[in-house]
C-alpha cells in the first residue's frame, strides 16, 4: 500500500477550505452556547427556589450521563416529529446539541469557580448594601471566572475534539468531508489520516498551553 501524494495535495485544499470552515463554526458557536447556557445553569443550580435548583441539577446530571450522539439524534430526528415541530438544519441541531451537552460541564466549572470565591466577599457586598445583581456582576463573577479560565479552555478543546460527532448527523465538517472523499474512491487512508493529524496538531499544543495557564494561575 503506498500513499497517494498527488491525491493528498488535491483533496487537502478541499478538506481545509470547506471542512475546516464548518469545524471552526461548530467549535466557536458551540463554545458560545456552552459558556452562556452553562453560566445560566450554574446560577439556576444556586437558586433559592428548591424546584428550580433541583430541576437544574437533574438536567445537568441527565445530560452528562447520556451520550452526545443520542442527544444529537434527539435534536435532529425527534424535534421535528413532536409539537411544535421544530425543524433544525443538521448544523444548527449539532451546534445546539454540542453546546447544551458541554454547558452541563461548564456549569460544574462555574460552580467550582463560584465556590472558590471566599465567603467574605459575599459578606462584604452585603455589608456595603450592594444590590444582588451588582454583587454578582462586579464582585463574585469576575473572581469566579478568572478561576474558571483554564477549565473553560479545556471545555473549548473538548468541544473542538468532539465536533466530528456531528458528521454522523450529516454535517460536512473535516471528518464528514474526509469520509465523503474516501467513499468516492473507496480509499480512506489518506483523507482520514490527514483529518486525524489536523486534530492532533491543534488539540495537543492547545491542551499543553492550558496546562501552563493552569500552573500560572495557581501560584
Amino acid at each position: 500500500m503506498n500513499w497517494d501524494w498527488e491525491w493528498t495535495r488535491e483533496f487537502s485544499v478541499e478538506l481545509f477550505t470547506t471542512g475546516l470552515k464548518v469545524t471552526a463554526q461548530i467549535t466557536v458557536f458551540g463554545a458560545i452556547v456552552a459558556f452562556i447556557f452553562g453560566l445560566l445553569l450554574a446560577l439556576l443550580r444556586r437558586s433559592k427556589i428548591l424546584w428550580v435548583s433541583t430541576a437544574a441539577r437533574w438536567f445537568i446530571q441527565f445530560v452528562r450521563s447520556t451520550p452526545l450522539l443520542v442527544q444529537l439524534f434527539f435534536l435532529f430526528y425527534v424535534l421535528p416529529t413532536i409539537p411544535p415541530n421544530i425543524k433544525l438544519s443538521a448544523l444548527t441541531a449539532g451546534i445546539l446539541g454540542l453546546g447544551v451537552h458541554y454547558a452541563c460541564y461548564t456549569a460544574e466549572v462555574y460552580r467550582a469557580g463560584i465556590d472558590g470565591v471566599p465567603p467574605g466577599q459575599f459578606e462584604a457586598a452585603t455589608a456595603l448594601n450592594l444590590p444582588q445583581v451588582r454583587t454578582w456582576t462586579s464582585v463574585i463573577l469576575p473572581q469566579a471566572l478568572r478561576r474558571s479560565l483554564p477549565a473553560l479552555g479545556n471545555v473549548l478543546v473538548a468541544i473542538f475534539k468532539e465536533s466530528p460527532q456531528l458528521s454522523i448527523i450529516t454535517v460536512l465538517d473535516v471528518i464528514g468531508t474526509a469520509q465523503e472523499l474516501g467513499s468516492e474512491r473507496f480509499r480512506y487512508l489518506e483523507p482520514l489520516t490527514v483529518a486525524g493529524l489536523f486534530f492532533l496538531v491543534l488539540a495537543i499544543p492547545a491542551s499543553i498551553m492550558i496546562r501552563r495557564l493552569e500552573r500560572r494561575l495557581e501560584y
Binding site: F62, S65, T66, F74, E108
Partner: protein, 254 residues
Amino acid sequence: MATINPCSGDLPGTFGDAMPFICDGAVVTAQVTLGGAALAIVLAAVAGLASTSHAWLVRAVARVYMEFFRGASVLVQLFWIFYAMPAITGYRLSPIFAGVLTLGLNLGAYGSEVVRGAIQAVPVPQREAGIALNFSTYQRMRRIILPQAFVAMVPPGTSLLIELLKATSLVSAISVADMTYQANVTVSSIGNQFTIFGIVMVIYFLMAQVITMVMRVVERRAATMVGRETPKRRPPQMAWTDPAPTSAGGGGKS
C-alpha cells in the same frame, strides 16, 4: 399480578415493538463498555506507572501514548482504525473489536493521567518511610504507594467509566449493533422517534447510575483498607482534565 419481562414483546404499543431490539442493543453496549473498560484499566495502569518511572525513555513512551490518544476524539480514532488502518495492515478488524480497541486505547490514555496524578499525590514522606524501613521498590509500590493512590483514583475513574459508557454509542457509526444502532434501526422501521430515543437515553442514564453506585462501593472499600473514611459527597469531576494533580500533586511537588 404477573410480572412482565420488559425485554419481551408483551408490553403495549411502541414499547412492545421496540423493547426486544433495545434490550439486544443494551447487552452489546454493556459488553463493549466492559471490554473497553478492561483494556482501558490495564493500559492506564501500565502507562500511568511508566510515566512515574525514573528511566526517561520509559517516561517518554508513556507520555507520547497519553498525548497521542488524548489529542483526538474517540470517533476520529475509531474511523481511522476501522477505515484507514486496513490499507496499511491489509486486513480489516471486526467492528466490535475495532470499537473495544479504540475505546480502550483512548480512555486508557485519560486513565493513565489519573493513575499518574494519584501516585504523585501520595505524600513524599510515605515513600521515604518505605525506604527507611528497607522496603524494596516493588514492596514500596505494592504495600505503601498504590493502596493510598488507588483511593484517589476511584472518583476520577468513575467519571471516566461514564465517559466510556457514553462513547460506546459511537461504535454504532461502524455498524456495531449497540443500543444507539438498534434505536436507529427501530425508528426507521416503526417510527415514533420520541419514545424510542427517550427510552434509550433513560437506559444510558440508568447504566451510568449503576457505574456510579458500584464505584462508590469500591471507593468505600479502598478507603477502609487504608484506614480512611470516605467523604459522603464530592463534586463531580471532569474527565478530560487531570483532577488529582491540581489539588495534591501541584502542592506536593513544590
